[in-house]
């Protein structure tokens, strides 16, 4: 296997709040090959966004990366001085947010902001920058791109705005793009268009992609591999098809069982009992323990990931399914 583009090892990001320490990301490890799409799923508050922000060095006080390593194309990002980090950000790793207005400035024309994004890392004449911006907009499916460059963000629909944000993320052909729920606020039909375009762009440009979403179906449509987060940790990781068919972690199993698409219409949906734990008061041991149907006294000790490089789960009692159970 070739060297991964991104190698994250034992990454922990904590927030030191007045109420206590929020261990938003704890011991997260994964790697990303060139051109690979990794889906990151988990419920609200599980640490998906903070993981993404950590990769770009965008965690603000009271939060900080407390330990671990992030190697991007062989270069360690944790502990890198700010100016060097700024140089990497946007050029080798970029982020697309749920709200495109996190990227776009409402009072600047699209042309102006794209030019600024280009000039942040390269020299380019206004004319060259304009041509390159138009090309980037065309690539993400914006019709009549050359003319739309002079428009302001509010003159675009939500879906079109998100495309502009994606075009900006792609400007410098970064090695890695972190996409944090970029289609969640959009309509199904527009979501499908953006997903399809994203899949095409990634394979054309060889960019690696981390796609964050709470929607398992969206993630499965795009990524060959998924990682499931719960309470700040990756609890299961593996090839998408395998994880969906044979989840090993009881939490993954619970998530899948609660989907209406898997149930007979009109029948009660399976529910995961209890609710998401407060990140300030995590139970001792496995954080899923109080809600887990398989929990035993052993679970008061934090389980270590088991499995191999392809397929891992963090559970003392992973599900081993017989064919009869695996419907």
């Amino acid at each position: 296997m070739t060297e991964p583009v991104l190698q994250v090892s034992a990454l922990s990001t904590h927030f030191f709040t007045k109420a206590g320490v929020v261990r938003a990301v704890e011991g997260v490890s994964f790697s990303l090959a060139r051109g690979e799409v990794l889906g990151l799923v988990g419920e609200s508050g599980s640490g998906k966004s903070v993981t993404g922000f950590s990769l770009l060095g965008l965690v603000d006080p009271p939060g900080r990366i407390v330990s671990g390593s992030i190697r991007l194309e062989g270069r360690e990002l944790v502990g890198l001085p700010n100016d060097e980090l700024r140089d990497v950000r946007g050029r080798r790793i970029a982020m697309v947010f749920q709200d495109p207005m996190m990227t776009l400035n409402p009072v600047l024309t699209i042309e102006r902001q794209m030019r600024l994004a280009i000039l942040a890392h390269e020299r380019a004449s206004p004319r060259a920058a304009r041509a390159r911006s138009a090309e980037a907009l065309t690539r993400v499916g914006i019709p009549d791109a050359a003319r739309r460059l002079d428009d302001y963000p509010h003159q675009f629909s939500g879906g079109m705005r998100q495309r502009v944000a994606i075009a900006i993320a792609l400007l410098h052909r970064p090695a890695v793009i972190v996409a944090d729920e970029p289609t969640t606020a959009l309509d199904v039909s527009i979501q499908a268009q953006i997903l399809a375009e994203m899949a095409k762009l990634v394979s054309e440009l060889g960019t690696s992609l981390i796609w964050i979403s709470h929607d398992l179906a969206v993630v499965s449509a795009l990524s060959r591999r998924i990682a499931v987060m719960y309470a700040g940790r990756i609890v299961e990781e593996g090839p998408t098809a395998v994880v969906l068919d044979e989840p090993r972690h009881p939490y993954t199993r619970g998530l899948l069982d609660s989907l209406p698409s898997r149930a007979e219409p009109g029948r009660e949906l399976a529910q995961i009992p209890g609710s998401t734990p407060s990140m300030l008061r995590l139970p001792e041991g496995c954080p899923f323990r109080p809600r887990c149907p398989r929990a035993s006294p052993a679970c008061t000790v934090m389980p270590e990931p088991t499995g191999d490089a392809v397929r891992r789960a963090r559970c003392h009692h992973p599900l081993v399914l017989t064919p009869a159970e695996a419907v």
Binding site: P106, S157, S189, A221, D245, P265
Partner: protein, 332 residues
């Protein structure tokens, strides 16, 4: 049952021209702004049987919420009317019934942050004499229990609850008015999958126990299939297809329904299990002529640009507004 329990007859809603925030900014920046009326809902006729749940689906801006608000008696229609067992739900621009209640998408915005949960639930019933002041406490506790919350929560404030719990409170508040009909506008959209399942189950149970009639608005086709016997598909203000949910999903009779179903990503390990609809949603300010779907439709013929297809019976119990309804192939 020939007479509908809830009858929506030729309801239209037109919003008078108004400059939106975007337009006001554009105007200030020197852009040309033209104000036109939005035809949000056009001549919609539907009937819902007692105890039935009808799903309403369609892309953003197609008019689902507007129709929902007209049905609930919150918004006066510009044409047509809504009747519940022959009685109009509105008179002189005012809601005339408490028998229809609503649950909205955002449980954070729909509850008064300064009001205790108990007061939130009993406010309406007290005002309408559905409960005596002396019994209000136990009344609120009973409703909290019905929606699966701890009755002791009556003294708490909304900020002390999670999203799923707040949505339960909003449902309890609606149900405390003893409605016959519940209009739900994206009630699970803002919730996590695991919490969504709890609320979907709650609706299933409440329908069984209280014989609720429901208009269930959602962009989540899976949730609609799970909860609703029939589904109405809306496009640019009109109903384009209507029928039993299972049948409509398996063998749609309108090209738009088919496209919508195929645009939703399905759980699959094999990659792209979805297909985008071509083109963007047209502006409701300037809808395409005749069949409004024709610019995006793979089956469109010359007739579709000239003549508006009527919502006609294609098969028993199945209606579609498409000239070529018989030729639409089953969803992939």
């Amino acid at each position: 049952m020939s007479e509908g329990f809830l009858t929506i007859r030729e309801v239209s809603k037109r919003f008078a021209p108004q400059l939106g925030l975007g337009d006001r900014i554009a105007a200030r920046l020197g852009g040309a702004v033209e104000a036109r009326a939005v035809q949000a809902v056009s001549e919609v006729s539907l009937t819902i049987r007692r105890g039935e749940a009808l799903g309403l689906v369609g892309e953003s801006g197609c008019g689902k919420s507007t129709l929902g608000r007209v049905v609930a008696g919150i918004l006066p229609p510009s044409g047509g009317e809504v009747r519940l067992e022959q009685e109009p739900v509105m008179a002189n621009g005012r809601k005339t019934t408490t028998r229809i209640q609503t649950v909205f998408q955002d449980p954070f915005a729909s509850l008064d942050p300064r009001m205790r949960i108990g007061e939130t639930i009993t406010e309406g019933p007290l005002a309408h004499g559905l409960v005596k002041a002396a019994e209000a406490g136990s009344f609120a506790r009973r409703w909290l229990e019905t929606v699966g919350l701890d009755p002791d929560f009556v003294t708490r404030y909304p900020h002390q609850f999670s999203g799923g719990q707040r949505q339960r409170v909003a449902i309890a508040r609606a149900l405390a008015m003893a409605p016959d009909v519940l209009v739900c506008d994206e009630p699970v959209a803002s919730l996590d999958v695991s919490i969504q399942a709890q609320i979907v189950n709650l609706f299933l149970r409440l329908r069984r126990e209280l014989e609720l009639t429901m208009l269930f608005i959602s962009h989540d086709l899976g949730v609609v299939r799970h909860l609703c016997e029939r589904v109405a598909v809306m496009y640019l203000g009109r109903i384009v297809e209507l029928g039993p949910t299972g049948e409509v999903y398996a063998a749609p009779k309108h090209p738009y329904t088919r496209a919508l179903i195929e645009a939703v990503p399905k759980l699959s390990g094999g990659g792209a299990a979805f297909r985008p609809i071509a083109g963007e949603i047209p502006s409701p300010l300037d809808p395409p002529t005749a069949c409004a779907f024709h610019p995006r439709c793979p089956l469109a013929i010359a007739r579709c640009r000239i003549e508006r297809p009527a919502l006609r019976e294609v098969e028993p119990g199945r209606r579609a507004a498409c000239h070529r309804a018989e030729e639409v192939s089953p969803a992939a």
